[in-house]
Amino acid sequence: MSTVARWVHGFAAFWWDFIVGDDWRVAAGVIMAIIATALLAHHGVNAWWFLPLAVLVLLALSLRRAAREAENS
């Protein structure tokens, strides 16, 4: 791997780790939940409860995965 490629890889890895963190599925879930909220709002449904609910479900699932991984390691 060239120096430039290594630098680009390192830069991308830093930002991935910085923003996304330990569980990419949480980030993907948040993006999907925001898109769903926007679609509902676009169709006239003021689903203010949807995103908070989705966030708590995503957090619970992520914690369960982390706990299982720790128990199996």
Binding site: H42, L51, L56, L58, A60, L63, A67
Partner: protein, 264 residues
Amino acid sequence: MSGNALLFVAVFLACTVEAVEALTIVLAVGVSRGWRSAIQGVLAGLVTLAVVVAALGPALTAIPLGALRLLVGGLLLVFGLGWLRKAILRASGYKALHDEDAIYARELIAARAAAHSGRFVVHDWYAFTLSFKGVVLEGLEVAFIVVTFGSNQGNVPLATLAAASAVLLVVVAGVLIREPLARVPENTLKFAVGVLLTSFGTFWAAEGAGIDWPGADAAILAMVAVTTAAALSFTLLLRRRRASLGTSLGTSLRQPQDAGEVAS
């Protein structure tokens, strides 16, 4: 509590946590290698962070508010959930706590073993780069929070003031006691910051997506209350789960030793 007060609290707590972690590195470098290059590294790091905030702050405020809230709310939400997830796992014993004393001892050994060499006006390049990296890497998260919170709330100066107050407090405490601030309840602070980032992120992202919150801005307080209650419940559930599995898992999970942390 108003939005600006919550903004101040969130930035102040986040900055305190990161400043304590940076202080541990800088103290180890200063004690083992001398203070001149260590302080040069700190100053260079602080200037870098100030440039990041000065450049990104006005750039973000130029974006239309709806798009800004969608983008920044989403980023804060992902970012905040990361903090909260880690704090819950630490409070429940599924992840080791941040041990400033152990980190300090490790950095001290590494710094004493490294060779001396100077570059430009820097007498000790190793001490300079280690201090610089410590300040920039720990401070980048705070810079991100200052810029995103400040621009969304329309008050970057207040966010900057909160960050500067926290740094000043930690530096004064560090100078006075001259050892790592191991007694600062880091995980409790991270837990609180995670709750605030997640609550504000949810509020702003939903608003940016076109949602009207019942109660308008007062909904943020409800979000903070709900997120706190849920996070504490998850912590207790995980503690019970670990306790029930403890005997069969042996020592693979850390033993409870911090009843005062978070969910006490």
